[in-house]
């Protein structure tokens, strides 16, 4: 396998609502691929083939076809679990109908737990932590925050948002039955311009904490509206670090916005170097750590399988333990869900210890708590069909 070129199709939005995120991520993947091309366990060369799917499942299927035509055997995607579902379905069918031309799907950010539970597939490997895992970590953290009395849930009215709400309530009942859910809202995805009414509602409920899976402008507008109305609550979020949001959070949100993720802005060591290089090169933040997982996992598995054949590599990836930027991680065999540490970080001014300025705002996500992989690990109901 040495010296071979491995094409990885990156199927994600480059236009439309999620384009900013997509633009950042495509750079991340290309950048990390370059890093790995300098030397990796398998000695292969990676090439990222970006294809715009406009955040549309139907378009993604076209993109998949196009990628397969170009000889691509590894596909990665992450924005939108609906797209992920469509891809899993299509890849399952493709692999079944076209033996010898199998395709492996490496999911870098789609976090719907179903993807590794009821909808799990042998060909799908998830590198992000799913909603339930993040919620496990988040609630473990919240359990110890004694000032949390009343929590308000506000989420986007689609599967991701609904799941955040659901898993939160489940976990809370287990860990802090005394905390009250003061209210719950589901608002339409990316359509609300004016969050003032929601903020008024949160205010009226007397909540001291807001938990939200919102991303993009749905998160920034929420935080902005809260600041404007003088609503002094803490926000526990999934996606405060995604492109554009940090800029919009600015100074007003300092100390009040928490994020749960498999990374923080200040991981130190080699990661700090990577982030710095990325920033010099693109004047942008490298936050999609799963791009690192992807190439680390692939090269290790290819080395192990001594092949780039997706069937062999897939088999090699199952249960593979490898070293990534956030420590030693494991691709769990039962459901192909990566087991990795999770971090709670807070939005604050940069300081000596946390000196990475996110989006050049002078603010950063500073680690407040790190949890080992086992803490956030959740059971799976996956009944995987192996070929």
């Amino acid at each position: 396998q040495k010296g071979e070129t491995v094409k990885v199709a990156w199927i994600d939005p480059l236009s439309g609502l999620m384009a900013p995120v997509g633009q950042n991520q495509v750079k991340s993947f290309q950048f990390i691929a370059e890093q790995f091309n300098k030397g990796n366990a398998a000695g292969v060369k990676f090439e990222v083939v970006p294809i715009d799917n406009k955040l549309s499942p139907a378009e993604s299927l076209n993109a998949l076809k196009s990628a397969i035509d170009q000889g691509v055997r590894y596909v990665t995607q992450g924005n939108g679990s609906s797209v992920a579902l469509a891809l899993i379905d299509a890849i399952n069918k493709h692999n079944e109908r076209n033996p010898g031309k199998e395709v492996v799907y490496l999911n870098h950010s789609a976090v719907d737990p179903d993807l590794t539970n009821s909808k799990c597939s042998y060909w799908h490997f998830r590198l992000d932590a799913d909603t339930s895992m993040k919620m496990e970590a988040l609630t473990t953290f919240m359990k110890d925050q004694k000032d949390i009395q009343k929590v308000y849930l506000i989420n986007q009215n689609y599967s991701h948002g609904q799941q955040v709400a659901k898993y939160f309530k489940d976990a809370l009942a287990r860990k802090r039955p005394d905390v009250q859910v003061a209210g719950e809202d589901l608002h339409p995805l990316a359509q609300v311009r004016d969050f003032a009414p929601y903020v008024a509602k949160i205010k009226a409920s007397g909540a001291d904490t807001v938990v939200t899976g919102n991303w993009g402008s749905d998160l920034t507008l929420l935080v902005k509206a809260a600041n404007d109305a003088g609503l002094n609550v803490k926000f526990y979020t999934y996606y405060a670090g995604v492109t554009g949001t940090p800029t919009a959070l600015g100074a007003a949100a300092a100390g009040r916005v928490f994020q749960v993720a498999y990374a923080t802005s200040n991981m130190g060591g080699a990661t700090a170097k990577l982030m710095a290089d990325f920033k010099t090169k693109f004047n942008d933040d490298w936050y999609t750590g799963s791009s690192y997982h992807l190439f680390a996992l692939l090269s290790d598995a290819m080395a192990k399988a001594k092949s780039t054949d997706p069937v062999k590599v897939a088999a090699a990836m199952e249960g593979l333990k490898f070293k990534s930027f956030n420590g030693e991680v494991e691709m769990r065999k039962t459901d192909h869900q990566l087991q990795q540490p999770l971090f709670i970080s807070v939005w604050q001014k940069t300081d000596a210890k946390n000196n990475y300025s996110v989006e050049n705002t002078g603010y950063t996500f500073a680690e407040v708590k790190a949890y080992d992989a086992y803490v956030s690990s959740t059971p799976t109901s996956c009944q995987m069909k192996r070929p």
Partner: protein, 343 residues
């Protein structure tokens, strides 16, 4: 009590913002008969231009200049493109604005990038206009600016609650009312309004009577775009300035214009307020139809017929209420609330 007040204030201000957005659209529609699908794009353009200008000249200058610049661009578009399509009728006119909205979006992204730009309101807009204080012993009171913390820091037995009303929103309301006044004067107190309406049906005749119709149309379109841009300047700093900001308001402003009555300024105003309230007030009601039925003795629960529909709370349905209203209004009163013509 304070919550009701705040909710009403939110509703009204949200309505006034909608008016700010849709007034230009109404102007263009009532006078030129053009459904301008690029209206929201001009709104976005206003925000971006103002962002660049205020980094350079300050916010106040941007507030004045950005609408002028965008209005000029609008006039240019009317002159070079829309005028050509006008000959072919309404559908091509509409489609050309459709095409323009794509182009504007792409150009904005090329110039300012795809991520939000950090547009912040100037210092004088960053404070609070007033604070609504509800305290157990003093009841409801309104304090200008930010209420001193001791007022809100629960004194004694019962906690007082303070809700601040941000300056940006107050300013927005003010500008919106100003727009209403200016437009009303333009339409009723000047003859230009008559000329435009005349030109709508018989442009040649209006010209033969000595009115420079093309110039008037250009001015109207330019003004409509300038109004959108003004809304954008304020909307941009109040919310976020980002490429998706046009898409978010894109269809709701049509709802406003249609519900109010196509081409009627008063209608656009009433429509804005109604939609503003409709988007806001139902959010506070977390009851669903199922709850309602259960209240009256029916037992509706998961698994009963129509549960998926009955289960939806009013708060969740709030965002679609404007569209529901639109459809109902058009079926039962196609003129719209205040409209005079039915087409």
């Amino acid at each position: 009590m304070d919550q009701i007040l705040i909710n009403l204030l939110n509703g009204f201000s949200s309505g006034l913002l909608l008016f700010m957005l849709s007034s230009g659209l109404t102007l263009i529609f009532s006078m030129m008969g053009v459904l301008n699908f690029a209206h929201a794009s001009f709104y976005m353009l206003g925000a971006y231009v103002a962002y660049s200008l205020s980094n350079w000249l300050g916010f106040t200058a941007a507030l004045v200049l950005a609408p002028l610049i965008v209005g000029g661009l609008g006039a240019l578009f009317e002159r070079t493109a829309l005028r050509r399509a006008h000959k072919f009728g309404h559908v091509p006119e509409l489609l050309i604005t459709f095409g323009l909205s794509y182009v504007v979006l792409e150009v904005v992204q090329l110039i300012w990038g795809r991520t939000p730009v950090p547009a912040v309101p100037p210092a004088w807009l960053q404070s609070s206009a007033f604070t609504v204080v509800q305290s157990a012993q003093h009841g409801l009171s309104i304090v200008a600016g930010v209420a001193p913390p001791e007022m809100c820091q629960s004194a004694g037995e019962a906690a007082a609650s303070c809700s601040r009303f941000p300056m940006t929103r107050a300013f927005m309301m003010l500008v919106s009312l100003g727009m209403l006044l200016a437009l009303w004067l333009l339409l009723t107190r000047t003859r230009i309004g008559l000329v435009i309406q005349a030109a709508l049906t018989h442009p040649e005749m209006a010209e033969a009577l000595g009115h420079n119709v093309p110039r008037v149309l250009m001015l109207v379109f330019g003004s409509g775009c300038a109004l959108a841009a003004l809304a954008g300047v304020i909307g941009g700093v109040t919310f976020v300035t980002e490429p998706a900001m046009a898409a978010v308001v894109g269809s709701i402003i049509f709802v406003v214009v249609v519900v109010g009555g196509m081409g009627s300024l008063a209608g656009a105003f009433v429509g804005s307020i109604v939609i503003g309230l409709l988007q806001t007030l139902p959010l506070t009601v977390d009851a669903s139809l199922a709850d309602l039925f259960n209240r009256f003795g029916a037992s509706v629960h998961e698994g009963s017929r129509g549960w998926p529909l009955l289960r939806i709370t009013l708060a969740q349905a709030a965002p679609i209420l404007p569209y529901l209203l639109l459809v109902l209004i058009l079926i039962f009163r196609p003129k719209g609330l205040m409209g005079t013509r039915e087409e």
